[in-house]
Symmetry: C2
Subunit: 223 residues, 2 copies
């Protein structure tokens, strides 16, 4: 990547630790530059408009204006901005809201640094980011486990976003329901459930529902 084409990253988080930690690492990257550090949602919006970042790492819980609101505000003005929600294990309920507000995905705050960096690059490339920190280790096992074939590279942990219906069906799968039970519960045909399940498997890059459910549970994508 030639100079001058660095990925412009804005970091919005009220925790100094996170800002300094992630911010420092971003500054070290050859292909990234930190264009601002905001400590609340309001400031994040102002800085985004001023610096026009490619990617924003956006905390949810912030003073004055939440990350959700800031995401909406930024998307309204700068729709090309890729916003990645930063969450803790506890506020996963806001992830859906964040994505509805226009975020491309989320990242757990205890993510490994390399995960964070790859999330930024994925977001920049226009891919959705559903990547965790906590479960990254467990997940890499699942992934490698399902790809024992020699030479197979570990699959990137990036998903196409699920549609609402797919999310619903994924949740039922994670309750241990069979396809026919899901069909009954959602009042659709079993064939339709199979269609959705098929798409979900594809998006997860998994071979069967057990792998999907494991991945979803370990990544907090379902209750």
């Amino acid at each position: 990547m030639p100079p001058g084409e660095k990925i412009k990253v804005l970091l919005a988080d009220d925790q100094t630790m996170i800002r300094q930690g992630f911010g420092y690492v971003i500054g070290l990257q050859a292909d990234m530059m930190l264009v601002g550090e905001a400590f609340d949602g309001k400031e994040a919006v102002d800085m985004a408009i001023a610096s026009q970042p490619d990617v924003v790492l956006m905390d949810i819980q912030m003073p004055r204006m939440t990350g959700i609101e800031a995401t909406q505000a930024i998307m309204a003005r700068l729709p090309a901005t890729k916003i990645v929600i930063l969450t803790t294990f506890d506020d996963q309920e806001y992830i859906v809201q964040g994505i509805r507000a226009g975020a491309v995905g989320y990242l757990l705050k205890d993510a490994e640094v390399e995960d964070m960096l790859e999330a930024v690059r994925s977001a920049f490339r226009g891919e959705a980011v559903y990547r965790t920190g906590l479960a990254a280790h467990a997940l890499s096992k699942v992934v490698s486990a399902s790809y024992i074939a020699p030479g197979a590279a570990p699959k990137p942990l990036v998903l196409e976003p699920l549609t609402e219906r797919e999310q619903e069906i994924l949740q039922e799968m994670a309750y241990g329901l069979r396809n026919d039970q899901i069909a009954q519960k959602l009042v659709i045909s079993e064939g339709t459930v199979k269609s959705h399940v098929h798409r979900i498997l594809q998006k997860f890059g998994c071979e069967d529902r057990t792998q999907v459910v494991v991945t979803a549970l370990r990544n907090g994508l379902v209750k």
Copy 2:
């Protein structure tokens, strides 16, 4: 249960909150009596020998002597004692050690009071206790979900203990492996894997591997 045949319970935990909370409730039960409250492992052993409890609720993280060591010491002297490990979400790695040391199962500290009481009664009846607090809610969904049939009572969350091999296979299942992959990994035949899986399904009272894996993950029975 006639008077004089109350379940004698010993409570060992260094947290006063837990001792007082659980201890108080145990004292209220018609079929239980609290024969002691220990605040560390050493005291737990001494009090167990003195009061010969039927059931011990044993914390893992305690001063002077850990719950694991105390469990071993008590089992060596009073092998009929039923010891239930008390854990937090964080020290689940010790559960296996506790069970190897002779505990009949475990209970998460944030368990509902009724769960705790039923754990004590289950343990007293000689049943293994693999019951959580945290995941009880999610699990009850799984259980009820797999038992939509009208009139079906929700299954008690008590498992026969898994053998070592079954635990190993459960772990592989939770990594998303198919039966033939597990067979390859453990160097046994696929048929043998199916035998173990069948037993695991029976012990969990589940209908398929997805339900088992969901239950195991939500209850911290696997990594």
